[in-house]
Symmetry: C2
Subunit: 663 residues, 2 copies
């Protein structure tokens, strides 16, 4: 690595951290809450809005359903939080739904959960970052044209922060989460007080009449149910991120399980209160929103073009109505902390994805590289992978939350359902061996909770798939099976390789004879060094070999060889088709014919240069030949480097980090 | 290489050809003429048009200058052909202007010529292919929207044909050149007869009045001179390709020089006759053309939008007028052969560029890979490089001949001028040693011809640069120096490396001790094989080495190691920063401390897999470590391959061709 990229890398991610410090990055509850809960808490910022967007298909007529939909979401949230409480108690070592499903249902179920979660982590990042940018635009409308660019910038920033490691991330993210929570509660409190004293806040969009979408004026009972369920599906985004704490138990300070459970319940209570309060305020202050992805403009008396005009988010409208208008300090505080927590919520995924990736790599379901810790102890490859996929989604969907959200939560609910079903099986097994009646009662309670959670999640999953299928959810239903198949194929490959490589305890089988071949193209220092090094390995036979491509060159080489009076004769191989590898392989096969236990060691003199562009001018042939030779049995290939002066700058040992060999 | 790409490669380029057949691809005159002259002859198809385009800036008013401009081009053509006749006589071994300039003026002049020619070859391909497509569109207007795609398809076809080798190319290209020449001569003859018998042909565009461009109604003498010279510059495109024969002398059948000279003169006569005839017919039949890159529409009474309407080429209009309309057989014959020869003219460059590239590579001005002959004896890398650059130009300039032609011919005339100047110096030197008065007279004549050619080319070069500078020629004046500097830098690099590597005749210096290190990550077959192979090289010390990344993994490895009771103890290196390369390099340095003549041989067990995607799952670590180790002095790196079953398909010796090692 050249100097500049190395300096840049250090500036961005900091100096390397010793493995011994891995234990030091355990989190107390007050840091674990913001780190693992920022996703769940921040989804409050868009869940209400998504419910209202769906319900306005029929103008303002169906908004009366919003409290019922919100109520259903709250019930679901409570069930899921309680279910996860049981899961944390049973699996204090973490791994979450993946581990639970793998152990209790089977490896395939685990891999299904894993593919669902991986897809969902990517979605979390894309949705949260995009929604954060939306809220920035609500406060600063002139930023609207740079939506995608802003989202990508935040993404890069997040990746960089996470490459620096978990601990620093925790400190940086604690403050915004607390500030956001405080801001929302102050807003809700103020709103309540104003309603009680009769000064009910009115949103700026209250004056717009919602226009009924064509054909949605009076829905049949069936259609109304469908739209209510779709609104409910959209509202379920409030539940995303609940599983993060269960997956992250190992990062908690001991007593890990108890601390994680308490953090989980605290998170649930905070999220539910914020969601209920915000939804109530939005309905009371008559916030009106329309679907920006829909073709028609639904504000009948809107001034100007509602397609080019950026609509403010629901939380922005509520904050503005409650706290004193779009230029008040309160409004800006809520918007700033909302934007911040949304962008940071993506951080939950930046913790979850690489961790899950490393567990999957350890279980041989994903490439081993995902289990490498980087300079700062973070799983760098997983972080980079997540950033790339999320960036692609943001780019393709132009950072549009309403379009992205359709792809969301299928993964979460797949994972919820399988995880909780796994827990039911877990308790079934536990109860068989348990004799203590107290403990048996507790297990029965836990099982009931998990069974309820599993059933509810399963029903929601079906609802989400049905109501969102045409809106883009089908893409997730394509991506997940593909990911599943890839992971199964990788697993099969690793298993087959491991089986092939397993030792049969025959000890070391020494080759009977050791033939050394030195490839020669010119008589110069690298060739002489390769010859000397080859001699130092005491081979049974030593051959200097050249392949005749151009007669003239070969004659010159032979003359030079004789002039130098070298102690090894030069053998010339003919090559009518101007290749090197084929005649060489033919020669090697001849040597080993009828002697399968003979070893052939091919020495290739190589130049080592310092600059990438010098690399273009040398060594391609050596590389290609080496690649071909390695396919031959009983052959090993030795590179004898000759370091040109330009390579000296690269020789220092503080060049970039390597990792373990041979795997 | 997998099976499918291998089969595809064979289908496209044919089976490999033995080096011994290199001599068999020499060309008789009747094949050499179409191969080397197709560029020069085909430029007739657009030279007239480009002259007329420039002269119509002032409406039809200045078209009276066209015969004078054409006459000047003919004079220039005669001077250049005669000059090259001298060059072929003096340098029968080929190399053309590059060799002449290098030998007689100096290496720098040679490299200048080379950069000029390389740029020009790329332009030749882009212009000829684009003009060919233009003529197809003249006959089949509905093909117009696919202009760029058609051009790129022809380019790919040309590259494929040339990758098959020179001989086949000659046979495939002889017929079209002769058919085109025949067609044009028949057209000129018919036209002349019709003029004589009073039935003067009238072009379809004769009815359009040329509108004078704004500000060009009455030009000052100075401005008129400028436009006349610009028209002349455009007409000089007729001269491109004249140098091809001089560069290609080695490909002629003996007597090479005499055959080349005769082909050259024949080509000159044919080209001049066609150019003069075509220009005369175009003027007599009142062909009107306008510059499609200009903003305004110059046909005053044109029906429809002249920007979307595809204008027919001059040769198409003449053929249509003379041979009986746009649906006559004669018209289609001329258009078909014109399009064909234009596309094939690019073939001249496909012969010239790779040949020049290989000569430049031999002289160490370009990467050595350009001097490798492929399976079919063609210089494959040069062919591919030319295709890529020409494809980029076609893409960027949307296959627009008039825009591309502005970048053209600067290179040609740079090369003409320096080549002919070199010849003057050559004759100056020759005359000093020559005593025979007959021969001295001949040398004096030759020198006069070359001096005239050099002066004329130099003047034209200046004219072209001045009159075309703002139209795009400045790009060439940027590209050429960059290419020049790159070639000088490459030359310097190779020279420095050669100097560094030159032997000082110290013979073989054997290392004093040979330390072997086997890198271990697991106890499996590849590790055991590496250990056995390492032992077979009889090292003075043998160490099995592992780097401790994760304590748990290392403990498991140590237990396994003991269980297998291996005869080599396992050394563990600590790595607090989870790297392998750095502790390893530290260990090696310690080994060699104060013993600069000790050798360390690092054995790396590697898996060999058959599919590229399997490669992603393995070996990255081995590769990275190897890359780092090669920078250390006194170290060599041995790859001990373990062939997994999936690699067997690749083991066959008929996999893709390699080439010479160590350079």
């Amino acid at each position: 690595m050249a100097v500049l990229p190395r300096v840049l890398k250090r500036l961005i991610i900091g100096s390397p951290v010793s493995s011994e410090r891995a234990g030091h990055t355990l989190l107390p509850k007050r840091l674990a809450l913001p780190i693992f809960a920022s996703d769940a808490l921040s989804s409050v910022a868009y869940a209400t809005q998504e419910i209202m967007l769906v319900l306005t298909v029929g103008g303002a007529a169906y908004l009366y359903l919003a409290p019922w939909v919100a109520g259903a979401v709250v019930v679901l949230m409570a069930a899921v939080v309680l279910s996860y409480r049981q899961l944390v108690r049973a699996y204090p070592t973490g791994g979450g739904d993946y581990e639970v499903a793998s152990k209790n249902i089977g490896r395939s179920a685990g891999v299904v959960v894993a593919s669902a979660l991986l897809v969902d982590y990517v979605m979390t990042v894309a949705v949260s970052v995009s929604s954060g940018v939306d809220n920035i635009i609500s406060a600063i409308p002139s930023a609207a044209p740079h939506r995608v660019l802003l989202a990508l910038l935040f993404l890069v920033l997040l990746a960089a922060v996470n490459l620096r490691g978990l601990k620093e991330a925790g400190l940086a993210f604690a403050a915004p989460t607390y500030l956001f929570t405080a801001g929302v509660f102050i807003m809700i409190g103020t709103g309540l007080v104003r309603i009680i004293i009769g000064d009910t806040p009115v949103a700026e969009s209250a004056k717009y009449h919602l226009e009924t979408q064509h054909g949605y004026g009076s829905l049949s009972f069936f259609a109304l149910t469908f739209f209510t369920l779709r609104a409910f599906s959209s509202g379920c985004t409030a539940l995303t991120g609940v599983e993060a704490i269960a997956n992250g138990v190992p990062a908690f300070k001991p007593p890990k399980a108890r601390n994680a459970q308490r953090t989980l319940v605290a998170m649930g209570l905070i999220a539910v209160s914020m969601f209920v309060g915000l939804t109530a305020l939005a309905l009371v202050s008559k916030v009106h929103v329309t679907d920006p992805t829909s073709n028609s403009c639904h504000f009948r008396n809107f001034v100007g073009d509602c397609h080019t005009h950026e609509q403010k988010t629901v939380i922005a409208q509520v904050a503005s109505a409650v706290l004193g208008g779009p230029h008040s300090v309160g409004f800006f505080f809520v918007q700033a902390t909302t934007a911040l927590i949304l962008v940071l919520a993506a951080n939950t995924a930046f913790n979850g994805f690489p961790l899950l990736g490393s567990i999957l790599a350890r279980d041989k379901n994903l490439p081993a590289q995902l289990n490498n810790r980087g300079d700062r102890l973070a799983y760098s490859n997983g972080i980079l992978m997540l950033a790339v996929f999320a960036g692609a989604l943001i780019w393709i969907y132009e950072a549009n939350v309403t379009r992205l959200i359709q792809l969301y939560i299928i993964g979460v609910f797949t994972s919820f359902t399988l995880g909780q079903s796994g827990m039911v099986r877990h308790w079934n097994r536990a109860i068989r061996t348990e004799r203590d009646p107290m403990e048996r009662r507790r297990i029965r309670t836990s099982r009931a909770i998990n069974a309820f959670g599993a059933s509810l999640s399963g029903i929601v999953l079906v609802i989400v798939i049905i109501t969102k299928f045409t809106k883009g959810a089908y893409l997730v239903l394509i991506a997940m099976p593909i990911l599943y198949l890839i992971m199964r194929a990788i697993n099969k490959h690793y298993a087959r390789v491991a089986e092939e490589l397993a030792t049969e305890d025959t000890g070391l089988v020494l080759p009977s004879r050791n033939h050394s071949i030195v490839l020669v193209s010119k008589v110069h220092k690298p060739t002489l060094r390769a010859l000397a090094f080859a001699k130092a390995t005491h081979p049974d036979t030593l051959t200097a070999l050249t392949v005749n491509i151009e007669d003239e060159d070969t004659r010159r080489l032979q003359a030079e060889w004789e002039r130098h009076d070298l102690p090894v004769p030069l053998t010339v191989l003919e090559s009518p088709y101007r290749e090197v590898a084929r005649p060489l392989i033919g020669y090697i096969r001849q040597l080993r014919e009828n002697r399968p236990r003979d070893l052939v060691n091919v020495f290739i003199p190589e130049y080592v240069v310092g600059h990438w562009w010098e690399q273009l001018l040398h060594n391609q042939r050596a590389l290609r030949i080496k690649g071909r030779l390695l396919f031959q049995p009983g052959v090993m290939v030795t590179s004898v480097p000759w370091q040109l002066h330009s390579s000296e700058a690269v020789r220092r040992p503080d060049a970039p980090a390597g990792s373990r060999p041979g795997t």
